[in-house]
Structures are given as structure tokens and as C-alpha cells.
Symmetry: C2
Subunit: 342 residues, 2 copies
DNA sequence: ATTTTTTGCGCAAACGTTGCCGGGAACGTT
DNA sequence: AACGTTCCCGGCAACGTTTGCGCAAAAAAT
């Protein structure tokens, strides 16, 4: 039951491998009868071309590489679903790699993907990545490349992102409109594009409402296991105490909620809470959590489309555009207007 | 900046490709000086062997294929983390494929993985899969194979699973002990091993408490988008109404909770709820949800270890064992003992 | 000094496939 | 009848690597 090769067909049909190859690819220089013969036989013995050999020959592998920090993250798993949906009905396969937020593993994974001859790469940067010369090198090699979510502006490639600024601005504005004035921002490592954009949206909203920016209210997490509790502790010890928390990730939102519960702090009565997250359970939490959501699946779809376009229309170098998709604000109980506060 | 090949080294050093190849693999028939020369140069120009060519040659690809139904599922993403952890420090790469619960895509993905010459395969069956002849074929080919979580007993391969029977038994017993008698079971498609085992655990507990099994209380979902609501509706319309729900997946647990909220049913006062799920937010739900948890990461780790063992010790055909890992029961408010019920 | 052994390396085949070139047969053209 | 085309097909090389074999030179044994 070893894999059937073109040679087996050639031998069985008393033809040369080249003829078989051409017959299978429906070349014009093979007679219809021979083609029929070869194709029927190939069908019968269930022949599948060996993609490894094809890749070696230098042609396309019809595989897309996806490099993300963590698949155990709603945003990324949804984005990957979007990518797969598009790839699948365009005839591409998707190979997924995780960097686990490590620059080193990002390098290794990209290296792997490249040497496995993927036709293109969809990348969301690790939080450790500040130097993007490895991506520049890929680009210089002419490998189709699309960045999504966590991007790097200094790179001149196609990018697909959510409107992080807008989402953070909307969330912060909402908190301000419900009377909050000391709004803490629990966020992710500072190097990342999304961190900066969200921070900027947060600051812009504060400014518009004439609330001074206080850097003591901003805390950076590191994707550590139970860091949220410590961050919350730090923030709560300030005077005056924050009256709202705006968090930048699933993990931080849940960690924050846990920490507040543990301290018996009432939400939203004492502290208002809003998370930047695609948690499917947000509505069911206690209290239902307000969220800024990103169109994760759509981001994946768009990124995949951009990439495949790039792969298939390699000549017409379409200018590498950045696409920004709108975020949504879901107001729920955790940031409800509390009369006594206003 | 094209990839460096062994030929480039050979040319630069005025050696043959065979010598370079052997020098790099530290063969005894190459003089120490030549080896040093080659290795230094290879290091300097950052040579990386082409895995595609290696795979074509038939040697190992040092890649593991992982085929799962959905990565956007806590259990699987955690299991994959476990797999990757082991694979990574054993020098293997992991290539992930999703079947989206489709038998057809399972076939296609396995085919892809095989033709990409993975050294072995870690598979969790799709819910549509009842015929496993494709796996038997792999096995006959001698491809190392490990099934995890959703397995098929008729297959004589290594398997790593959670104690689904035990988990379901514990959950159901707990519900019975807290005075519930009409316990509904919302579960996943019936073909799957885990469905059957959980159902068996559920029935065993009922039997032990002398509660007759009522098949009207068991409902099978299909991974559809909003099916839970309908299933709940059906179950609630029965008389007497169920006084507890035991669900078999993340999705069903959340859907069930949503459906109960929507109908204003008090948990656990009116209906007790317990889910078979690894949701990280279970503690934070309203009310905190009781769960049966599986050691997902550990399952992944063990499965990967078994697979690598099989790959590397191919001769000593260790008898394909089934490993069963214990599940845990987390009792929270959603299945709290309510005095009036007892 | 001659034969044997060892050492160190190159040649060529192979993995599965495709592209380039070349060639025989049948046909049509002068 | 001689030549040019067209139509089909096979041979060979190549992708990057490993490997069995062979071969020359150096070292060792006689």
C-alpha cells in the first residue's frame, strides 16, 4: 500500500514518466486516448501527486503558513477559522505554527514554514518581536507575506488589522460618559502595535473629556499565568482608587474579574469593567461583561484573500495596503451607569 | 539571499557534495580538518538543510501531524499546547490540521499530512467519522499513529483518553446526591467514543441510585450554531420537567446557560447545571458553573510522547496501549444543594 | 620493496516530478 | 519522390540531499 507514483503508472501502461506526467496535467501534446488511459488508470489506483516532490521542483506547494502567538486565544482561533475558510475553497492548505510569544520561536517557525516551501505566510507578531529584519528578508526574497492584527508599520507589506484605536476610544468614552474619571488600563506588552493603538485611543478619549492622563493608571502585563491579580492589587492601592478598569485581552479581563470578585468589589457599583476581548461567554459572566470586540474571523478571511491574491498575481505588485476593520462595543452590566456615581 | 544548499558549500570549498553532506553529518570517513572547514563555513553562511529534499529522500521529516476537529475549542487548544511542548524539546515540529467535524476533510487532511511526509500522526476523530478504514490503511503502511480523546476502539493503535465514564459518573452521582432525579443529558453526536462513554457513566450513576433511565432526557447536538436553545426548549416541555442538566461540551454548556437565563429559570434553584468542559471562565459565570474537567494538556503531552516513542523505537513494537487519564469534578454554585429540593 | 590495509574523498544513483529537447511516424506540400 | 509539418511520445536533466561503491594516495604490514 505504498504511495503510488507516476512511475508505477508509466510502468503499468508501458509509457514514459514524462508522458504520464503530461497526460495528467492535460497537456496538449498528448493524444486524447493516451490521456484517457492514463487518467482512468490513475483514478483507479488512486494516484495522488507527491507534494514534496512538487515543492522540490520549485513549483507551488499550495500551502499557506500561518504563524500566530497562541491558538488557545479566541481571537486567533477565530482568525484561523477565517483563514481556513478562504484557503480551503481556493484550494490551499493551511499549516499552523505557534510562537508562544517567543521571538526565537517566531524565527524558527518562519524558517520551518519557508523551508517547507509554503506559498505565502500569514503572520501575527509575537509580543517579544521588536526587530523585524527577518520579515524584511522574507520580503526581499519575494515571498508573499501578509501581517494581521499584530503588525509592524515599518514593514512595507499588506496588513489587516482591527480598529484598535477606535475600539479603545469607544470603550474609554463610554466609561467617561457613565461618569468614570479614574480609568485604569490593564494592557499587554508595550512593544506591540495593538498595545500602542489601544493606548492611543484610551488617551484620546481622556483628552477629549479633559481628564488628565495618568501613567500610573496604565499597567503592562506579560502574558504570565496569574499576573492580573498583582496588577489589580497595585492599581487598587492607589489613591484615589480607580473607578473603572479597561483591559486589553481575554486573559486580563478574566483575571481582572477574578481579582475583583476575590476582593468583594462590586461591579459596576464600585468599579466599572470593560474588556477588549472576543470571549463567547462575556454575556454569561457575573456580571455580564462589556466588551470591545474585533471581527476576528473577517480579519482572517481578508488576510487570506490578500495573501492568495498576492501569490497568484505575483506580477502586478499591488501596493501593500493596510486594511482596518471596525471594532464593536458591547455595553453590558459590568459598565452599566450607576446613578450614585454620576 | 536564496537558500544556501549543500552544493554552494561544495563549490565554495572545492569539495564534492557528498563530502559536504558527510562532513555535516559528522561521518567517520571525513577527516577532522575537512569537517571543521565545512562546518565552519556552513555556520558562517547560515546553512539550513532543506527539509523538503530530506523528506523526498525518505528519511524523517521531524514533523508531527496533528489532526483535530476544531482548534477553537478549549480542550483541543490545550491538548495542542501539550503536544507542542513535548514535540518542541524533542526536536519535532508540529503541523496542525482542522477537520471541522467533517469526515471528508479528515480524509483530505490526513492525506495532506501523509504526503507531506510527517513522521507520525496524532488524531482526534471528527464527529462524522464512523468508518476508520483510512486509519487502518495508515497503520498498515506502518505510519506511527496515536489517537487521542475521540478514539475508535476497533483500531489497534495507541490511544490516550480521559476517563469520560468516570467524569460523567461523578457528575451524575453528584446531581443525584443533591437530590435531583430527572437529570437531562445534552450531548454530542452519538457515533463518538466520548459520547458513548459519557452516556454510559451517566446511566451507571442513575442505575446505582435506582433512577430509571429515560431516553427522552437525552438529546444529541450536532455542533450547529444555536442548537442548544432548541434542545433546552424540548427538554423543558416535558412533564415532569427535568430538574438538572448535564452537558457534554463547552458549547452546549454555554448554550444551555444562555437558554436558561433567557427563560428566567433560576440556577440551581429550579434547575441544576453541570458541564463537561474546560472553560477557563467557568468560575466567573453567573452562577459559577460546576464542571467536569479533563487534563487536556496532559493528554496532549502523553499522546505526543507515545507517538515519538513509536517513531524512534520503531523496531520494538510496543503493544498499542490505551492510557486513560482521570477527570476532575469541580462543584460550583450551578449545582449547589438547594434545601427545598431535597 | 611489494602487498595489504586504511584513510579520505568523488561519482552516480535515487527519492517523484516536470521542462526542455529531440525523434519517429504520419500527413501534407511542392 | 523529396521535403517540411504536425502530432505524440521518450530521454535526459534538474530540484537538494543521502548513500553505496569505487578509487587514489597514504599508511601499515609483510
Amino acid at each position: 500500500m505504498d504511495p503510488v507514483t507516476i512511475k508505477d503508472i508509466a510502468r503499468a501502461l508501458n509509457l514514459s514518466t514524462s508522458t504520464v506526467s503530461r497526460a495528467l496535467r492535460d497537456s496538449y501534446e498528448i493524444s486524447p486516448e493516451t490521456k484517457r488511459l492514463v487518467m482512468d488508470y490513475a483514478e483507479r489506483i488512486n494516484y495522488r501527486p507527491n507534494p514534496i516532490a512538487l515543492s522540490l521542483k520549485g513549483s507551488s506547494s499550495r500551502a499557506l503558513g500561518v504563524v500566530v502567538p497562541q491558538i488557545a486565544n479566541n481571537f486567533f482561533s477565530q482568525a484561523i477559522n477565517g483563514i481556513e475558510a478562504i484557503a480551503y475553497n481556493r484550494g490551499y492548505h493551511v499549516i499552523i505554527f505557534q510562537t508562544h510569544e517567543s521571538y526565537e520561536r517566531e524565527l524558527a517557525n518562519i524558517q520551518q514554514a519557508v523551508s517547507r516551501r509554503v506559498d505565502g505566510l500569514l503572520i501575527s507578531l509575537s509580543s517579544e518581536t521588536s526587530d523585524v529584519s527577518h520579515l524584511k528578508a522574507l520580503q526581499a526574497q519575494g515571498l508573499p507575506l501578509v501581517l494581521f492584527d499584530r503588525v509592524a508599520d515599518e514593514l512595507n507589506v499588506a496588513q489587516v488589522v482591527a480598529d484598535n484605536f477606535g475600539g479603545a476610544y469607544a470603550a474609554t468614552s463610554h466609561l467617561l460618559q457613565t461618569g468614570r474619571r479614574r480609568i485604569a488600563h490593564l494592557t499587554i506588552p508595550p512593544y506591540m502595535s495593538i498595545t500602542q493603538e489601544r493606548l492611543a485611543g484610551y488617551r484620546a478619549a481622556l483628552e477629549q473629556y479633559g481628564v488628565p492622563y495618568d501613567e500610573n493608571l496604565v499597567r503592562y502585563g506579560t502574558f504570565g499565568p496569574d499576573e492580573a491579580d498583582q496588577l489589580v492589587e497595585d492599581l487598587l492601592s492607589q489613591t484615589p482608587r480607580p473607578d473603572a478598569f479597561f483591559t486589553a485581552s481575554d486573559r486580563l479581563a478574566l483575571g481582572c474579574l477574578t481579582a475583583l470578585h476575590r476582593r468583594g468589589i462590586a461591579i459596576p457599583d464600585d468599579i466599572s469593567l470593560i474588556g477588549f476581548t472576543n470571549l463567547p461567554a462575556a454575556e454569561l459572566l457575573n456580571p455580564p461583561m462589556s466588551t470591545v470586540t474585533q471581527p476576528a474571523q473577517e480579519i482572517g478571511e481578508l488576510a487570506a484573500e490578500r495573501l492568495i491574491e498576492q501569490i497568484e498575481r505575483k506580477h502586478k505588485a499591488s501596493p501593500p495596503s493596510t486594511t482596518k476593520l471596525p471594532t464593536g462595543l458591547n455595553v453590558r452590566d459590568s459598565s452599566r451607569l450607576v446613578k450614585t456615581v454620576v
